[in-house]
Amino acid sequence: MIRVENLIKQVNGTRILRGVSFAVAPQTVLGVIGASGSGKTTLLRCLNGLERIDGGLIECDSIRLETNLSAHEYARRVKELRRKIGTVFQHLYLFPHLTVLGNIIEAPVHVLRVPRRKAESEASELLNAVGLKEKARRYPESLSGGEQQRVAIARALAMHPALLMFDEPTSALDPKRSAGLRSLLRGFVERGHTMVIVSHSIGFLEGLADNLLYMEGGEVVESGETDQILNSPKDPRTMDFVEQAK
């Protein structure tokens, strides 16, 4: 699905990512864990093209991002890449001037040129799936944090992405709502979605992620199946992190 090789990103001469490599197979979930400042969020921003990479490559289906591309060509490929990747930000960034329904159909109608009526019926299905059927006409500000997050998920899914990425999805949720989100996402995985989830909450990823990747200081310390990373990590740094997180 997506493959990252020796990815390097530097900001003002400081290397934020120092050669990150991994791959995500279709219909699997990769959890990216690590302390704050380990480069997790920057990794996501490189994957969806918000940051230009300084080394290595990103490959998603047949689209390759490399450093030797012209600015124009890079931008063109990022555009294609974004058609395949949906992102749910930590801060969501719902559009406050549009209703819940408006948030969801905005891109399908104006980017994909789906007829409004068709987009609306698809959006209703998505809202149904995330349990917000009754709130289609509301404005985001009037929703709770958990509801807003589900609107953001529906908004991303409305573009039919092959890969869905989350940045700290549980940061604003209480444990009960975290569990609710986890079962919602698990449902999407069972229907064939692929996901990359950046989170510091190991509890949330347990039983959701197929594989885990532990980052520290812009490097991948260890990656493997979730069970293995959580129960028998090979690297002492992973062990420390997992111990503390538990």
């Binding site: 974004r82 001037h97 891109a107 404005y139």
Partner: protein
């Protein structure tokens, strides 16, 4: 008490009569040939009335002291005591006689009609029924035009009137002969239409009750006529003619001079005044709305250009914004009205005001837009990009609607002040509310009541705007507030 008396005695001793000034007021701006700034020595005043005032003061044994003032408010300034006499080609009209008194006449003026050299159809005032004739506001000429039912445009100075005639903004100019002689004899593009007609006198204006001064002034006029000084001055300025010979003969003979003035200014009519104010209010509304629309449409690209454009565009936008914010709007309007025609772009006054204020306010609105755009979090842009939108679509559908809501309150504020700023259009002879007030109030002396009426007109226009803006804002907020409350209950 003794000290005061002593001081007064000392004062009257120390200041001989020769030291006592004759403070005379006139409007020197565009005031040729009466009194105006010497083009060769701009800090000095010249003109035939300047020379006459000097001669008159000498004849009275006083020292002349010129107080530059404003034509429209000469009478009220005299009443306030800014100066003691008006010497500015002032005619003793019925409504002026209610407020001040006049000396004996010193000059008989006639009116002359001026047209462009190419004009074939206008030979007299009778040919102007369906044309627009320019003249100075509140003069014998303007009253004659009103009485004859000729469409007129009032100007603050003759230069502007003749220039607009050259630029074909008007079809003819009716002006007192002294001004006409001075401007038209030098012009290559304008000519006199028909012979000068109508007769009226110029007299010196004094406060009511200043009878001793009036006697002194009358004696002074007698003196400069008898000794030929006035004739000499008038000849020098090409203003000597048969009418003056007649006038001076009568004065020499000690006769009472009475020029039959066919023209009594119509007495003040409130109904007509309100009607004229209402028409001026329509112009004000038109100019305010038109320029706000320009400002809103032009302000946005300026804001975007200044913050997101390539360096050369940023520079251009910044120069535009700083230029329009850093120079007075009055100067900008004068430039557009009088400057642009020299490169062949002559707009009528109301359009100049509309465009000028629009360009000016665009600079201010651009800063409102910019602040509003900067207030939108970067994440909104990124969210839009990640949904596949290009920058233009993201801007139009996501960023602009949010920014507009932030910008709405300051923009309404600006609009209300734009409403009031339309009054600068007075400078380019647009008949909007402030101009209407000045002219009607000066003609009638009803400063107080007309002031109240004009304020009511302004309020009647700006209050609904403020109200509408508040409702709009509240509606935007309420929609969210209601839902927030609903969410709490659920």
């Amino acid at each position: 008490m003794i000290a005061v008396t002593l001081a007064a005695t000392l004062f009257s001793f120390s200041s001989a009569r020769a030291q006592q000034p004759l403070r005379w007021g006139a409007d020197p701006s565009g005031g040729a040939p009466y009194v105006f700034n010497d083009p060769n020595h701009p800090d000095q005043y010249i003109g035939y009335e300047k020379e006459m005032a000097d001669a008159l003061a000498a004849a009275m044994g006083r020292r002349p002291e010129f107080v530059p003032s404003d034509w429209e408010t000469l009478v009220s300034a005299l009443g306030r005591g800014s100066f003691d006499v008006i010497i500015n080609g002032l005619e003793p009209t019925a409504d002026r006689l209610k407020q001040i008194q006049f000396s004996k006449p010193y000059y008989i003026f006639q009116l002359a009609l001026t047209v462009r050299n190419s004009e074939q159809q206008i030979h007299s005032l009778a040919d102007c029924r369906n044309r627009v004739v320019g003249t100075l506001g509140n003069t014998a000429a303007s009253r004659l035009l009103e009485k004859e039912g000729v469409p007129l445009r009032g100007y603050a100075d003759p230069v502007a009137a003749y220039r607009d005639l050259e630029l074909k903004r008007i079809d003819a100019v009716l002006m007192d002969v002294p001004a006409e002689v001075f401007y038209v004899s030098k012009s290559k593009t304008l000519k006199r239409a028909g012979e000068p007609f109508f007769r009226g006198t110029y007299n010196i204006g004094l406060r009511k009750g200043d009878d001793a001064l009036k006697a002194e002034v009358d004696a002074g006029i007698d003196k400069i006529i008898r000794d030929g000084t006035l004739e000499q001055i008038l000849r020098k300025w090409n203003l000597w003619n048969d009418a003056q010979t007649e006038l001076q003969a009568q004065i020499r003979a000690g006769q009472n001079v009475n020029v039959a003035n066919e023209l009594t200014s119509s007495s003040f009519n409130w109904r007509e005044a309100i009607w004229r104010l209402a028409r001026a209010a329509v112009v004000t509304v038109l100019v305010a709305f038109g320029s706000m629309i320009i400002a809103l449409f032009l302000g946005l690209p300026l804001a975007v250009g200044q913050s997101k454009g390539p360096p050369w565009l940023r520079w251009l936008c910044t120069i535009y914004i700083e230029f329009f914010r850093g120079t007075p709007v009055l100067v900008q309007l004068l430039f557009l009205y009088f400057g642009l025609p020299t490169i062949g772009l002559a707009m009528p006054g109301w359009l100049t005001a509309l465009v000028g204020l629009g360009l000016n306010y665009a600079a201010y609105e651009s800063q409102v837009y910019r602040a509003a755009l900067e207030a939108i979090p970067r994440g909104q842009w990124e969210a839009a990009y990640l949904l596949g939108m290009n920058p233009l679509l993201a801007f139009r559908r996501i960023i602009l609607p949010q920014a507009f809501r932030i910008a709405l309150p300051p923009m309404t504020n600006d609009f209300v002040s734009l409403f009031k700023d339309t009054s600068v259009a007075y400078a380019i002879s647009v008949w909007e509310l402030a101009t209407a007030y000045r002219e009607l109030a000066n003609a009638s002396g009803q400063f107080l009541l007309l002031g109240v009426a004009v304020s009511l007109f302004y309020l009647a226009m700006s209050l609904p705007m403020a109200h509408l803006a508040r409702r709009l804002e509240r509606r935007l907020q309420r929609r969210e507030a209601i839902q927030a409350v609903e969410a709490e209950i659920v």
